[in-house]
Structure formats: structure tokens, C-alpha cells
Amino acid sequence: MAATQVLDDPLRFDRPAPPATVVIFGANGDLTQRKLMPALYRLAFERRLAPGFAVIGTSRTVMSDAEFRAKMRAGVEKYLEDSPFDAALWEEFERGLYYLAGDISGDALYHELGAKLAAVEAERHTGGNALFYLSTQPSYYARVAEGLGTAGLQRTEDPAAWRRIIVEKPFGHDQASARQLNASLHGVFEEPNIYRIDHYLGKETVQNILAFRFGNGIFEPLWNRRYVNHVQITAAENIGVEGRGGYYQEAGALRDMIQNHLMQVMATIAMEPPAVFDAATVRDERAKLLRSIRILKPDEVATHAVAGQYGPAQIGGERLAGFREEKGVAPDARTDTYAAVTLFIENWRWAGVPFYIRSGKRLPKRVTDIAIQFNTAPLSLFADGEPGKWPNLLVVRIQPEEGISLRFFSKRPGSGMTLRPVTMDFNYGTSFGERSPSAYETLLLDALLGDPTLYTRQDMVEASWAVVQPILDVWSGSRFEFPNYASGTWGPKESEEMLARRGHVWRIP
């Protein structure tokens, strides 16, 4: 018997990541510097990487290994969050960083990459394992997979070695292109080796939703249509498109946030308890939930979805540009910088409970949270309360301050029965002094360990596109009076009207 499992002690030490080379396509880009390298460095800091760990970065710009290392170091020093930079550790870490210049569209890159992988394997003892990370323009994703396939890099001779591919967001720009991309990837890689990233699933607080729901017996009995009145999911940003106008113009809030991140969050909040906590079962439940979301008919879109675009505003003496004035954005752009949808889940637990999801840019603050609004008491004994002030509310805060709050009515001190809403707060950061790993740390490590629980699967991606597609279709043929909300406000008035139809109001998070 191999000694493998009996020696592991998950209580005390983490299973070490196996040796591997991470190949980053688009290594000269923003994501690599801002997120990927700081996450890998941090994993090295935590001693979670094997000694035989290496990175091969590739993009068109010609750089030596030394130049690439210096650029990555600058990125890590600048973007490393919550922890100090250790120069000695960096020196050890950077010995495993290599660079290869080349063009994704040509064939040469992939053959050179094959040779480079073999050389790095010999030098760093990576055991032939490789994780390909697509951190470049989405239009290249299929091309990279094809190139890897042509050069035979998607597999190795050694049956113990693995080859996996991580695909960044966005996964397609509509249902058809998502299917197409799946087909292209499947032409080269098998589904278990495809890791589609949704960094929201890597966030500690999103994972904590599962612990909260299924680790406690208190809330689950209330988690259904009998007690829950409606659910609001908000992802607001106070910034605009910040130089990414060209990209964002093509995407919009519905594609960029709701189709992927917020629908995954919704699945996590609403899914059935998995029978066991393993990757396949958890993902099956998420997928099942996404498939249960009612698909809107074209004539329902107007009442169930709202598009918005921010206009200019004068805030504190400063003039903020409207979306159409942003760099790289067409003056008549029809992009939704705000989107709100009403969704229903067609299963026994949730039938009839509206799930309102909204996301937008240039809103009053940066906040992501989920609010479960419970039904009010059946009889209002204390008529003097402040109605509409959101008691009976459970809020799961994802950012910026991660935690969970329960809002309920309490008696105001003094004589008389006056009620006031109060909050009971659990704050993630203060209950655990430990630092939470960033979403990218969690996800990269999981991919190295071969654990896809927090990655999305083909059926999940296609199910969420199926929900969003009818809205996109109607919107593409509609004329909107854009801009329809001023920067620094909570979005267009149509969004308020959408909730008012069911007697609800958006919370102010």
C-alpha cells in the first residue's frame, strides 16, 4: 500500500502542492502583475508551493528572464495586500520565474514553449506537471487551447503528470460564444482539466456562506419561501471604468458581473445542501440551482430587468465624466454600466420568492452584499416602529468589511413601546485575527492540488448564460434614454420601480 494518505494530517499540515510549472499567457498584462504574481508569491511565503515550482510567463513584448523578474517584483511589492514583502524570500522565489516572448496567434510560440517546459522541468524538477493560465484577451482563449493541442502540450508521456488549463473571465460574451468556447476547449482538454475561474467563488466570505448555512442548524429551517420574503444581491462600485472603457463598452454590467459572479453567489445562497462536501456534489447542487432559475420570456424583460448608464455629475466641486465621455468609449455607447434583474427560482424551496440582483459603476459606495429579507411578524403589535427600515434582515457582507449582520427591532430605552432597528454584527476580520487568503491564492492553490470545487463547470456556465441571454437579446434591440442615472446615485429610477411592483424597495447598503 502506498503510504500516501495515512501520513496526511489535514488538522495540522496542508497537503503540499505538487511540483508544477504555471504557464501564464498574457504575463505582461495587468492581471498578472496585480493579482497572479502577488498570489503566487504569497503562497510561497506560506510555504504552500513545492520546491519544484516554476512560472513561465509569455506575451509578445521581448524581455529577458531578469527583466521579467524585475517587473514581477515591482508588481508584488506594489500590490501585495495584508502582508509585508520579504526580499530574501523573493530572491528564492524569482529563481523559478522564466519568460518566453511570442505571439499567441502564431504556431512558433507553442513549439518553443514545449522546449522551454522541458528545460524548466529538468532544471526545477517540476515532474512534468503544468498549469496553463489564460490571462490574455478573451478572443485568444480558443486559440491558445488549439495551439497547445497542436504542439501536444495538453498531455505528457508520464501518466502520473498532469496538464490543466485555467480560463479567466469572461467566459464567452453570450450563450452561443460560451458554447463555442467550451467546444474549442473540449477539443483539446478534458472537462476535469478545465478550470473556469470565477474569483467570487474563491472569496472567503462566499465560501463562508456554505459554512453558515450548512454548519449551523438555526438558519436553514428559515431558508425557504415560507419565511423569506425576498433576497437582494448588490455589487456596487463607486469608481467608473478607470481606463478599461474599451473592454467595458463591449461587456456591460449584466455580462461583467451578473451573469458570472452574482449568479454564482445566488447559487451559493440558494442551493440545496450537498449530500457530501466534495467537488462533484457541491458543483452538482450549484448547477441544479442555476438550471432552476426561470428563463424570462421576451415580453417579461421590460418588467424584470433594468439597464442603466451613468451620466456626468458634479461631486464636491469635482466634475465626474459620464460613461460616454470616458477614454475608449464611443459617444453613443449603449453599454449598461448598471443592471438590475428580478429572478425566480422554480423549485419547492424558493417558488415565488423574488431574487433581486443589481450591479453598477459610479454608485455611492463600493459594497457587495446579500440581504435576506424575512417576512414581517404576522401581527404588528407595536405600530410605532419605523416601518420600512429593514429589520428582519440578514445581511451577508462580502466586501469591503466581510461579515454577517442580523437586523431586528428592539425597544428604544425609556418609557413606552417605541421600536428601533438594531444590528447584531459578526465581523470576519476581528473574530479571526488570521489573514484571509485572497481569492486568487485560494484558486491557484486549488488548481495546483486538482480541486475544482470553487471553479465553474461547463453546465454551470451554460445555465447562467441561458438566464441572461433573453435579456441581452431584448436589450440589443431596445433604445435606451442613456445616460439615465447620475454618478454617485443608486441607479436609474426604473430600478426602484421594478421592485415597487412587488411592494419592495432597494435597501441602502
Binding site: 500500500m1 502506498a2 503510504a3 500516501t4 495515512v6 501520513l7 496526511d8 494530517d9 488538522l11 495540522r12 499540515f13 503540499p16 520546491p51 495586500e81 495584508d82 502582508s83 509585508p84 502520473a160 465581523n427 476580520g429 476581528t430 473574530s431 479571526f432 485575527g433 488570521e434 489573514r435
Partner: protein
């Protein structure tokens, strides 16, 4: 004034109120109260307050708690107590996090009184961890009412001179529940944490390898080291039938916190692994099938070991199994 739980808690409340007022002045960048457990530390009068304090407050950052230090002062005939609030500023944050601290001084004769005081001071509905740092295990009887509400009891046999009685004491604490049942607390021994690095290294090296059939462990110091005793027990519990030869390789016992295990060797069909730590320092040489590589085992102090134990949720089956088969020679 004799120590009184209600008065001490009131004192703490007052301190918090004071800190809360400062918070307003500070435009919201004040303090946050954090607590995940009650940590009771049984310490000796002679324990250096600076060292113990520094150690416990570094621990508090990862495991915020109401910390209650009980100092045994043999000649004291009255129980005395004082409270403080310990604050720290996490890296990159603007808000201080604070935990509560109570220090109790008492003679062993007053342990009955101390037990009552502790019962009134624990934080409701949160785990109670009892760390027996220095008080002789025999004195614990008087603290039994406190032990009985502990979710974890932590001892440290690393420096024990007499392994036979140390192991007996640990075993009896591990089994010694009401009416011969399993105790309500989970027992931990910091000496077990001292072999985590060894176990992790072996788990990494032996991944995908066949099980070894024989081995040897060598340590520094004439008498057997408790970590070596646990390492032997662990290997025998995970590889049933393995034969392990135990011996001292150096009569000189190194100072506290310097590793005493020097060599671990495992052999069998298709397995040849040797880990050597020649000086007990951080550098360890691993020789696998004749190939040599270097490992680093950072120095372990009490804070690190305790943090490891506090980070563990649920029962530690591997430790329990090892404890069952542990031998002292």
C-alpha cells in the same frame, strides 16, 4: 479586597466604555472587541511576566480571547486579581483590535476559591481552553471544576524528566472523564506539535511510496525525548507491524526549544529515507534513495506550538491513536 468575578467583569466593562469613547473622537478608527474563547493559563509565580505576556499577546492576534492567567504563588494566602485590555493594530488596518486580560494570583491552597472565580469569569457560550503551563499536574485536582468545563486541556511534556510518569499523567488526563467516560475536554500535548514538521516532511517524501517495514529514531540527551516517543508511536500507529529501534545518539541534552530528535530512518522494500538534523538547528538533510536535499525546520517556541493547537477544531484522532501505543523505551 478579595477577588470577585462580578467586580472584575465590571472593571473590564468600564475599560471598554472608555475605549469606546475614544473611538468617537477618533472618527471611527478606534477599537474592536474580539473574542473567540476563554483561555485559562496556569502559570508559576516565577514565570517571567514579560515573556509570558508577550507570548500570549502575540497569540491573541490569531486567537482573540479573554485570557485569564492564574499564577500559583505558594506563599500567598489570599486570591488577588487585576484586569487589563490588550490591543494591537493588524498590519495594514486602521482599527485596533482588543482582547481582555485577567491576571489572578493565588496559593495552591486557594485553588478551590480560584475555581469558583474562574467559573464566573469565562465568556458564555464560547470554548474554554485550559493551558497547564507550569503547575504540576498533581495539583490539578483542586481545579477539577474548571477542568470539567474546559473544551480543551493543553499540557506540555516536552521538557519532562521522567517520561514514564509524564506519559501516565497525559494518558490519565486523556481518559479521565466523569464516571470513567471519555472526558469532555480534548487533551493536547505541545510535545506532539513538536513533531508536526517531521511528520509533514515524511508525508511529503513518502507520498506514492510503499510502506516501510523498519526504522530507527535517535535523539540527544540520555533519557528519551517525549517528541521522539510520540514520533515512534505515530509511525507504529500508521504503519502497523513496523519495527522501530530507539536510542540516544548524544548524551548531552540541548537547551529548551532546541530540537532533540536527530535522526529518523525508514526502510523497506522500495523505501530508503533518512532525515538528519545534526545540531537540532533549523537545517535538516533528507536523503531519499541516496539523493540528498535540504529542509528547513523553523525553531519552535511555545507561542507557535500553542497557536497550532488552538487552530485545531474537532478531535485529534492521530494524537489519540499515538497516545494509545506510545512507549517510553
Amino acid at each position: 479586597m478579595p477577588a470577585d468575578a462580578a467586580r472584575l467583569l465590571h472593571e473590564l466593562d468600564e475599560t471598554w466604555r472608555g475605549l469606546g469613547k475614544d473611538q468617537d473622537k477618533d472618527l471611527g478608527t478606534g477599537v474592536l472587541r474580539a473574542c473567540a474563547m476563554t483561555l485559562i493559563v496556569a502559570a508559576a509565580e516565577a514565570d517571567d511576566p514579560q515573556e509570558l505576556g508577550g507570548m500570549l499577546s502575540s497569540l491573541m492576534q490569531q486567537h482573540p480571547s479573554r485570557t485569564i492567567v492564574v499564577r500559583t504563588c505558594p506563599h500567598r494566602d489570599e486570591v488577588e486579581a487585576r484586569t487589563t485590555v490588550q490591543c494591537w493594530m493588524p498590519f495594514g488596518r486602521r482599527q485596533q483590535i482588543c482582547g481582555e486580560w485577567i491576571e489572578i494570583y493565588a496559593g495552591t491552597a486557594q485553588f478551590g476559591e480560584v475555581a469558583l472565580l474562574l467559573l464566573g469569569l469565562t465568556v458564555p457560550d464560547l470554548p474554554v481552553v485550559f493551558w497547564v503551563r507550569h503547575t504540576a499536574l498533581g495539583h490539578l485536582d483542586a481545579l477539577r471544576p474548571v477542568l470539567s468545563m474546559a473544551t480543551r486541556v493543553i499540557v506540555d511534556t516536552s521538557e519532562a524528566d521522567d517520561q514514564v510518569s509524564a506519559l501516565d499523567a497525559v494518558r490519565s488526563l486523556a481518559q479521565d472523564g466523569p464516571d470513567g467516560h471519555e472526558p469532555v475536554w480534548r487533551l493536547a500535548d505541545l510535545a506532539w506539535g513538536r513533531i508536526t514538521r517531521w511528520r509533514k516532511a515524511l508525508a511529503g517524501i513518502l507520498r506514492n511510496a510503499p510502506a516501510p517495514s523498519r526504522g530507527s529514531i535517535r535523539w540527544a540527551g540520555e533519557k528519551m525525548s517525549m517528541p521522539a516517543c510520540y514520533l515512534d508511536a505515530w509511525l507504529r500507529s500508521v504503519f502497523p507491524g513496523i519495527e522501530i529501534d530507539l536510542a540516544s545518539s548524544d548524551p548531552v541534552r540541548p537547551p529548551v526549544n532546541v530540537g532533540r530528535i536527530r535522526v529518523v530512518q525508514l526502510n523497506g522494500a522500495g523505501v530508503d529515507v533518512r532525515l538528519e538534523r545534526p545540531t537540532g538547528g533549523p537545517n535538516v538533510v533528507a536523503i531519499t534513495d541516496g539523493l540528498q536535499s535540504g529542509l528547513v525546520f523553523p525553531r519552535l517556541d511555545e507561542a507557535t506550538l500553542l497557536a497550532e493547537e488552538l487552530g485545531i477544531a474537532g478531535p485529534d484522532h492521530l494524537f489519540r491513536e499515538a497516545l494509545k501505543v506510545a512507549r517510553t523505551g
